[in-house]
């Protein structure tokens, strides 16, 4: 089947589309590390949607492209190379596929079109103050009352909750069973009475994440995905699907290219010759690592397409590329730090220095720290790898 696909022609088609159809002002946001918000994402999703490319990872029957894994990978790669925003993932990559796999017919009709067109914006309510790496210990409780659940508890680190319409949420529906078994997945509208959202200010000064308080929020039972008590399985399905996220090294390589240009620009003078050489060497080491990861990413995609097990590749990719991304961000910081780090304060997010030329490199460095924390922290990945390597 896949032998019939001309991947080179496909790549060229995607590139032509990206270059002609993605508005320059949107690409500029990506290229200059400005904040990607719903305001930026939505028009781009709309363009993709109208072209029939709204959901590269979905089956055709639900409005997806029906592309194979390699095509999807090429699409992601070319988008990164052209500075197009990566598609907003919470609907398209996370809850959408779960609804497609486990949702009821009504849920599919109600939720999939809004995700596809970008009309509905989703966020992920998993983490809680007491449940991070050990997510299964979550305590936000949903008590059944007739056709409704009454939800009581708190989520935290909820990215985009402040601009989202819906939160797919893991809640505890039973305290009896093993802790993984008492969890259910609810789709909760964020305008429901009893929900309050409070911003969390992160070290980079931007508003990414929130605390979400749920005070006796009434959610129709019809908004539960799949079976009661099976939420953990659906959550894992979602993570499984995202396991190849680390295979797309293109954004990191693009970031590295931009950093190399920064060095040439910032450190072009004779007095900075040695400094530039030192930083270029660090960048080169990072590039070597990223190229290794890129080769492994291709191996992973081939494995999936040929039905072979992925083994530890996803953990290796996540662990490796997250650290390398941070190294690149450190090189950029070292290039501009003397000039810009002292002018960067969290309170400056919208303040006088927010527009200082190049200040985004400091912000980017600060924010890059999260890469080894979320999506399975480095330590958790190492536990996973070691368990497999040692056989227990």
């Amino acid at each position: 089947m896949s032998a019939a696909i001309d991947y080179d022609a496909f790549r060229a088609e995607v590139r032509a589309f990206a270059e002609t159809r993605c508005p320059p002002e949107i690409r500029a946001v990506v290229a200059t590390y400005r904040k990607l918000s719903r305001k930026v994402w939505y028009p781009w999703q709309r363009i993709l949607f109208e072209h029939g490319w709204g959901a590269p990872g979905w089956p055709k029957r639900y409005g997806g492209t029906g592309w194979d894994l390699k095509q999807r990978h090429i699409f992601d790669e070319v988008m990164a190379e052209c500075d197009c925003p990566p598609q907003y993932h919470h609907g398209l990559r996370h809850i959408g596929p779960v609804i497609i796999e486990y949702g009821s017919e009504e849920q599919k009709q109600r939720f999939l079109p809004g995700i596809l067109s970008g009309e509905d914006w989703w966020c992920q309510g998993y983490s809680e103050p007491g449940a991070g790496s050990d997510l299964a210990s979550l305590r936000t409780a949903a008590r059944r009352e007739g056709d409704e659940y009454v939800v009581e508890g708190q989520k935290t680190w909820t990215s985009h909750a402040h601009e989202a319409d819906w939160m797919y949420t893991l809640v505890r529906t039973s305290k009896e069973a093993k802790k993984q078994q008492g969890i259910s997945l609810l789709l909760i509208p964020l305008n429901a009475p009893g929900i309050s959202i409070r911003p969390i200010r992160t070290i980079d000064g931007w508003h990414h994440v929130n605390e979400v308080f749920l005070d006796n929020v009434r959610v129709p039972v019809a908004n539960r995905v799949g079976e009661e008590g099976s939420g953990w399985t659906y959550g894992k399905f979602l993570l499984e699907r995202e396991r190849l996220g680390g295979a797309n090294v293109a954004p990191a390589l693009r970031n590295l290219e931009r950093t190399r240009e920064l060095l040439a620009r910032e450190l072009g003078g004779e007095a900075q010759r040695l400094k530039r050489a030192m930083l270029e060497e660090r960048l080169l080491l990072a590039e070597a690592e990223l190229r290794g990861a890129q080769a492994l990413g291709q191996e992973a995609i081939a494995a999936v397409m040929e039905g072979r097990p992925l083994g530890l590749l996803p953990s290796v990719l996540k662990l490796g590329t997250s650290v390398t991304f941070q190294h690149v961000a450190e090189v950029a910081l070292d290039a501009v730090g003397e000039r810009l780090a002292p002018r960067f304060r969290p309170t400056d997010a919208a303040g006088p220095n927010a527009e200082a030329p190049g200040i985004e490199w400091v912000q980017n460095y600060m924010y890059s720290r999260v890469r080894t924390i979320y999506g399975g922290s480095s330590e958790v990945q190492k536990n996973v790898i070691a368990k497999q390597l040692f056989g227990s």
């Binding site: 190399r260 240009e261 040439a264 050489a277 270029e280 060497e281 080169l284 080491l285 590039e287 070597a288 690592e289 190229r291 290794g292 990861a293 890129q294 080769a295 492994l296 291709q298 191996e299 530890l312 590749l313 290796v316 662990l319 490796g320 330590e379 990945q381 190492k382 536990n383 790898i385 070691a386 497999q388 390597l389 040692f390 056989g391």
Partner: protein, 363 residues
């Protein structure tokens, strides 16, 4: 089931090379004196010549097996896993590549009687004045050090740099050449060579000019690639053996493998190993697919070998505690080999410089 490494190129040749490597390593560990070790290496050299290893990449017209890069990778990979302290990359790959247009020499090489040490133009010297060169009246002078070699070398293959590069094949044991033979820290034979005004006979000169420099650079990249294959393979075995050691060594009443600090160190070794494996595999594919050597892929791989290889070797030594400081375990002999591999066919700074130069030129 604990981890077992997958070969980059597996198969019978890989298994055979691995078996011979392990056997040689075992035997060598029981011999104390260098002369006895050298004799043992010579026996293994003769037997692998008998098995046809040295002819693997030689053209069929010249009596070789006409094998591909993949066949070479199987051999070097197997030898790396087994810890065979012989210069397989040079003997099976680099030197036949440089002498491919010398059909008269190939049979002697294939059978193992011509045992050639290769001295590249940028071979190490103690003093800048020692760089080998031809005087205007055709005499060879200079002194190179730490040249990896087969046991009892019979010939020297030299590339002389300078305005007009020269490729030169000389008999090793003649007046005007003196040698000091040693065994390196990874157990491989090596020698320092001094040339004291040796009159070069016209028949020794195999080539001159830009073509020699180009071919020598390609040969170096081939050597770097095969060395990477060998080292990745050694690193896979080293990981296995480190894991095995940690599972069996008990301290504080529990196996060391139960301590998260060590488990995480091993996980880091694995990530480095995988990343390096990915790069080497990609370079190997690129080299097999196209014309000429994909120098950029190879340079990235060799650069990473410097970084990742050393990290893996050092971590393994650390995980073994005091035993890591001894020669007693095969694991530590592998670690030493991986550390040495960095310095063959261009060390990490050499390959980094090439890549940095190219990036600057592109900018």
């Amino acid at each position: 089931m604990p981890f077992t490494a997958t070969p980059i190129v597996g198969g019978d040749a890989f298994d055979q090379a691995c078996r011979i490597g392990q056997e040689a390593d075992r035997q060598l560990a029981l011999i104390d004196d260098p002369a006895g070790q050298l004799a043992c290496l010579r026996r293994h050299w003769d037997s692998l010549a008998g098995l046809g290893w040295l002819a693997v990449a030689m053209p069929e017209e010249a009596g070789g097996a006409g094998g591909t890069l993949s066949d070479l990778a199987a051999l070097t990979g197997g030898a790396g896993r087994g810890g065979l302290p012989l210069p397989i990359a040079a003997a099976c790959g680099v030197i036949p590549y440089l002498l491919a247009d010398q059909p008269a020499l190939l049979p002697g090489m294939a059978e193992g009687q011509h045992r050639i040490a290769f001295i590249p133009a940028d071979a190490a010297v103690d003093e800048a004045a020692d760089v080998p060169q031809l005087t205007p009246d055709g005499k060879l002078t200079g002194a190179v050090v730490g040249i990896e070699s087969p046991p009892d070398p019979t010939h020297l293959l030299l590339v002389l740099g300078g305005a007009e590069p020269v490729l030169l094949l000389l008999p090793a044991g003649i007046p005007g050449i003196s040698a000091r033979h040693t065994l390196r820290i990874d157990g491989r034979p090596a020698a320092d060579w001094r040339f004291t005004g040796l009159a070069v006979e016209p028949g020794w000169i195999l080539g001159r000019g830009e073509a020699v420099a180009r071919r020598a650079a390609e040969a170096r990249d081939l050597g770097a690639l095969l060395t990477c294959v060998e080292a990745v393979s050694a690193a896979g075995a080293l990981l296995e053996q480190t894991i095995d050691y940690l599972l069996n060594r008990v301290q504080f009443g529990v196996p060391l493998a139960s301590h998260q600090a060590l488990r995480h160190r091993v996980a880091e070794m694995y990530v480095e190993y995988e990343n390096l494996r990915g790069l080497v595999l990609q370079a190997l594919r690129a080299a097999g697919a196209g014309e000429g050597m994909p120098w950029r892929d190879i340079a990235f791989a060799k650069l990473r070998l410097g970084e990742a290889g050393r990290f893996i070797a050092q971590s393994s030594i650390q995980c073994h505690g005091g035993m890591g400081m001894t020669e007693a375990l095969p694991a530590i002999r592998l670690a030493r080999r991986i550390m040495m591999a960095e310095f063959e066919f261009g060390d990490r700074t050499f390959h980094a410089q090439r890549l940095l130069d190219a990036a600057r030129r592109a900018a």
